[in-house]
Amino acid sequence: MTSLATSRGAAGRAARRTRPGAGATRPGFVWALPAAVFFLLFALTPLLLVVVLSFTSWDGIGEPRFNGLDNWTALIHDPVMLQSIWTTLLLTVLGVVTQTPVSILLGVWAAGRQRNRAVLSAIYFVPLLLSATAVSVVWRAVLDPNFGVPAELTWLFGDGNLLGTRSGAIGVLTFVGVWQFTPLHALIYQGGARAIPQVLYQAAAVDGAGRVRQFFHITLPQLRNTVITSMILMVVGGLTTFDTVLILTQGGPGNDTTVTAYYMYQKAFKGFDFGVGSAIALVLVVVATLISLVVVRVSGYDKMRGTTEGL
């Protein structure tokens, strides 16, 4: 009860620092324990183990044996490793660049309360319901050069050699990314756009600002935090692209779409070199964390307060 007394007695800043309702009976640390232990066991321990395994040689048959820096020297001299990082970054950047504008437009459009928009939105968001596996399977069939859409729309697709060239395969992966992820981000923008106070628009309309002007001068600036949230999700998603690559391109043609996550899978689970696989995984974690940190710092996301501000 002493805390109650102080919080009541002190004014201003001191009172704000203590949480409101400080006097009620409070749960102990024990309440957090089950989740903490569980998370420690199944998410953080493996993360530590990946560091250990990256210094071992393990083929899955025997036991891991320490081999010092062998995996790391092998990776440094491995041209595919570096190429996979570039491919991953390229796909991530392409993903952000293509998905962001489409999602903003779609989200702002869907934020309108018109009846037809509500109905159409329901259809627009259907890709959300499909697993990445299902999305890849469907597009594989749709884009088949002999039995898919390219066979009928030759004026658009030419000979249909979409997955046979580097630019084609990267284009397909980017496009499928837009198809798959835009609905999710559009939903986020829809929420953001609906939170913009209508007064702003009414004031602008009084000033005679047209729709386009309103979009650029009110909607976009107001969505700033939403853009950051959505971009962070896109970046993390882009860096860990795996399912679509596995099913649509298998890293091909050649190594052209071998992204880092897929390369890790190839090395570890196709080539049975789990040590090198772990090292690649670690590179992925480091790259992902670095980029997330940069995005967070540059955008000022970490300065945002509250849980809904960025959404």
Partner: protein, 430 residues
Amino acid sequence: MRSRLAAVTAVTALVLGTSAACGSSDSSSDAGAGTIHVLVYGDAGNKVEKQIVETFNKTSKVKAVLDTVPGADYQQKLQTVINSSRAPDVFFNWGGGSIQPFVKADLLLPLDDFIAKDPGLKDNFLPSVFNSAVIDGKAYGVPMRGTQPVLLFHNKKVLADAGLTPPKTWDELVAATKALKAKGVTPISLGGGDQWPTMMWFEYLYDRIAGPGLFQKALGGDREAWASEDSRKALDTLKQLVDSGAFGSTYDSVKFTDGGSPALVAKGKAAFELMGSWYYSTQQDANPDFAKSGLGYSAFPSLSGGKGDPADVVGNTNNFYSVLKKTKHPEAAAAFLKLMYSEDFVKAQLAIGNLPTTTNTLDHLDLSASPGYSKDQYQLVKAAPSFQLSWDQAYPPSAMTPMHTAVQQFFDGRLDADGFIKAMQALPTS
């Protein structure tokens, strides 16, 4: 609000309810004494494996349990369990490199003792096939399915329309591709998206030009073999064929596994396809009419001046059963392996379109769904001085991805001969 929550709860309840009902449907019945677990690749061919297990269980005290691993990830899953408590006693494999790591880790039982007791376990099989599961002079596997040599298939009508006959020599093949191209047909269908069909072209050209020795040397660790003159000549010959447009331009977007490349041949959009002997049943499945009357096949053409015997074949010699050293019931395993040359086995395999490689197969070929096709194949395999196991099966599993990448990049022009040679030299050999 209320109804939304109700819906969510309802779904959750449904989910929880069903799971409670089917919570414990696991297959971990290892505890029962006197069983051997047989692990096989899960596909349509399992019918025979099931039947053989049933036959075995009728007489044996030790019961066999068949476990299947579905899909293309068999090798990966095998590697995963083979040294664990869930390891099988007997397992399906491709011989060669697919079991080499296990031999190296001393996990497999050499079958020499079994063979000493029952010489039939060796003598009843075609030697060229049996040998692909012999490692360092010891036998580690017994053939357990059908042989799958790679043949050059064609669409009879397309060839006839162009006034062509199946090519006997490489020059004839090259001439045929030119004639077909002029007629607007893709000369050769290739499922390049799968990568391994592309590799088959390398396997045959290396054999025809350099003979089987070059690859054996390379596999044995002699990296210079890849840089030899014969190797370059094979690459050169192949490159010319690719550059002439014989495979069309979209082969890397096409797959065999999703039915793309076989459909091109069946629909007359392409003339040839180089593929394993399972091609016949693939076509039968997808395009039955074409398989019946329009599908032709021939051996891979000979190449003048080449060192390889034109009778050599490449492909999957057969699949094998290997036995783990730590099995508790080696006698039962031996008895189980003996069934692999039984008449029942041969008949059952023939009935589902497989071609077993036992010496008594010849007596039953009339039972095959397509006797003519089976006889031709059997003679081809029996007469072959060399039956080269597919490259990706001969090398250890870790070589597979870089090898597939290299063959694809060579076809794409992303790797030149030097680049390809370098890539092959970098492969782990053991």
